[in-house]
Symmetry: C2
Subunit: 332 residues, 2 copies
DNA sequence: CTGAAAGCGCTTACAG
DNA sequence: CTGAAAGCGCTTACAG
């Protein structure tokens, strides 16, 4: 029952070398020159015995595992965020790291978790107490802040992308001739980083294009809330009415389209609607949703490099340019 | 920099006992009677020093960690599955287990992963090679099969629920007077377990109610595919047309509603549509979607108990009755 | 170029 | 009731 784990010692015996040599070969420690012939013998034996080093032993010895802990926020991951995590998982896998995710409830300390796992690095996708971050770093864990709530975000690609999304939405609407825009934003606290960034991006684009700032309406994702937001936009003199809305996300865009139907309003003629995130349901909206696609690849690759550099104690690579793209369907 | 980890030895010193005693107290080893006074001193010292045992050391000693590895399938997790994982995470957390998830690409062996982590238990939410499962079990890891593809599913609550969902859909439609039903099912391989179960459930319910078996159309989640499926249902003599459709999921229901609009057909008058999963976007469909809610709590609690029992080597608890519920809106 | 040995921080039989 | 000690499987200075 309790299967016998294959250890380095057994590999050593099979390869007729010492256990230390096995370790050297398997970890590519070049500081000790191992003759090719010996190397091969060891590799061969390891393969034959189906040897996998004990992560626990290595972690105990080194003081940290090769796990990368991705801390997920305490709200349902949307399609975009899931894709992001999946992409990152792939990248990390290829770098011999073991990415692993864990959703953390608001307020629950990460401490027990990271001390238990002793990861090589932690990627925080949720806010975490200042003290906790420092505690991790003090004990040698590299901490990457997916969302750097309390600092300038110019260097954080995940956040930088947020403003880009808002700008793109506005640019497309402006190109279609719209001059008076609305922004439909969430109130839920967990969405506020992203929504604030997207609104900032939208405002900046409006400024660039000589438009008025978008009229922002905040609401939660309920039929009543969105309907009320719509009325606030609509209950003004006709000449002042907005003609297009940037929705914070495709979900909000769906909700707005639904509220518009309730009022006998249609997109894009009465109000053009553009979403963000490009969820799979987008083509099935009525009318099919125009939206922004995130183009995760660049971001994900970059973040994997940041993590690796952090673990190795190297300088972080420069942030690459991001290119979220427009997906034009019929709603705007 | 390399922060000094607090070890049991330091706690022992502070509490003026041996390190072994610290271990006994902290692990509640009752086989050795520790006087309350000593216990308190140890507990106090541990708290004061902010001691967290090294999982690596414990794992090395015990041959396994207290991590529960949840292996996610290689496709985007839907809303329902995400909720399930989140719920399970909460439960496991409370049992002093460390749930952690990892998506695994099709064909990539789990071996490296579980050998590295040496989890107390693994919950497989994806198909995995027979040999891999056995290898895990042989080395003492308890393996729970979230999806038992190759065996009877009567005992697997996750799968049992699948048939229940299909039955519920049919029962609601029948109660509304529908006699000729369609079932809109995916072709994507990853959805086939669930869709097969739901169809089985629907067929069983039809049999019970004296209806013909539902006319099943398989398609992928694209506008063209779903439109074609709709036409196949519709291009028959009027008297033979179906009057209602069970969609495999809310996503498919959205797609069908969209295709129906394209043909000038409306729900529920021309065709009533019922989905499954109760995604947040449901209320914003046109018309708002009638669907099935999974009621995750019972399932999640049960599964957590199964895992705990497996780890402790106890008998698994009996499967509790599940109660997915109807969410009636306007589409059916 | 290779091996013997220390030590990472635990748990648990065993001896006092 | 409590402590000294072995040992889990590694990595890595150190000695040969």
């Amino acid at each position: 029952m309790a299967g016998k784990r294959v250890t380095a010692t057994q590999v050593a015996k099979a390869a007729q070398v010492s256990q230390a040599t096995v370790s050297y070969v398997l970890n590519n420690k070049s500081h000790t020159r191992i003759p090719e012939e010996t190397r091969q013998r060891v590799l061969e034996a390891a393969r034959e015995l189906n040897y996998t080093p004990s992560a626990a032993a290595r972690a105990l010895r080194l003081g940290r595992s090769n796990i990368v802990l991705i801390v997920l926020p305490d709200w349902p991951l949307g399609y975009a965020m899931s894709g992001f995590v999946d992409g990152l998982t792939d990248q990390l896998e290829q770098m011999d790291l073991q990415p692993v995710t864990r959703r953390l409830k608001q307020g629950v300390p990460v401490e027990e978790l990271w001390k238990a796992i002793m990861p090589a690095a932690v990627l925080l996708l949720d806010r975490v107490a200042q003290g906790e971050r420092q505690a991790m770093e003090r004990s040698g864990v590299f901490v990457a802040h997916g969302l750097l709530w309390d600092a300038e975000h110019t260097d954080n690609p995940l956040l930088a992308r947020g403003t880009l999304v808002g700008s793109l939405q506005v640019e497309h609407l402006a190109a279609r001739g719209h001059r008076r825009l609305g922004y439909l934003a969430p109130v839920a606290e967990h969405d506020q980083v992203f929504s604030r960034l997207r609104i900032e991006g939208a405002e900046a684009a409006c400024l660039d294009l000589g438009l008025d700032r978008p009229v922002v309406q905040h609401t939660d994702l309920t039929a009543a809330g969105v309907a009320a937001a719509l009325l606030r936009w609509w209950d003004v003199p006709t000449a002042q009415r907005i003609t297009a809305v940037c929705a914070y996300s495709d979900d909000y865009a769906f909700a707005l389209l639904s509220a518009m139907r309730g009022q006998g309003l249609a997109a894009p003629v009465d109000i053009a609607v553009i979403g963000a995130d490009d969820i799979p349901l987008g083509p099935f909206a009525d009318p099919p949703l125009t939206t922004i696609d995130h183009e995760q690849d660049v971001l994900v690759t970059h973040l994997a490099r940041v993590l690796q550099a952090g673990i190795d104690g190297d300088e972080p690579p420069a942030t690459p340019p991001l290119h979220p793209g427009l997906v034009v369907r019929s709603s705007a």
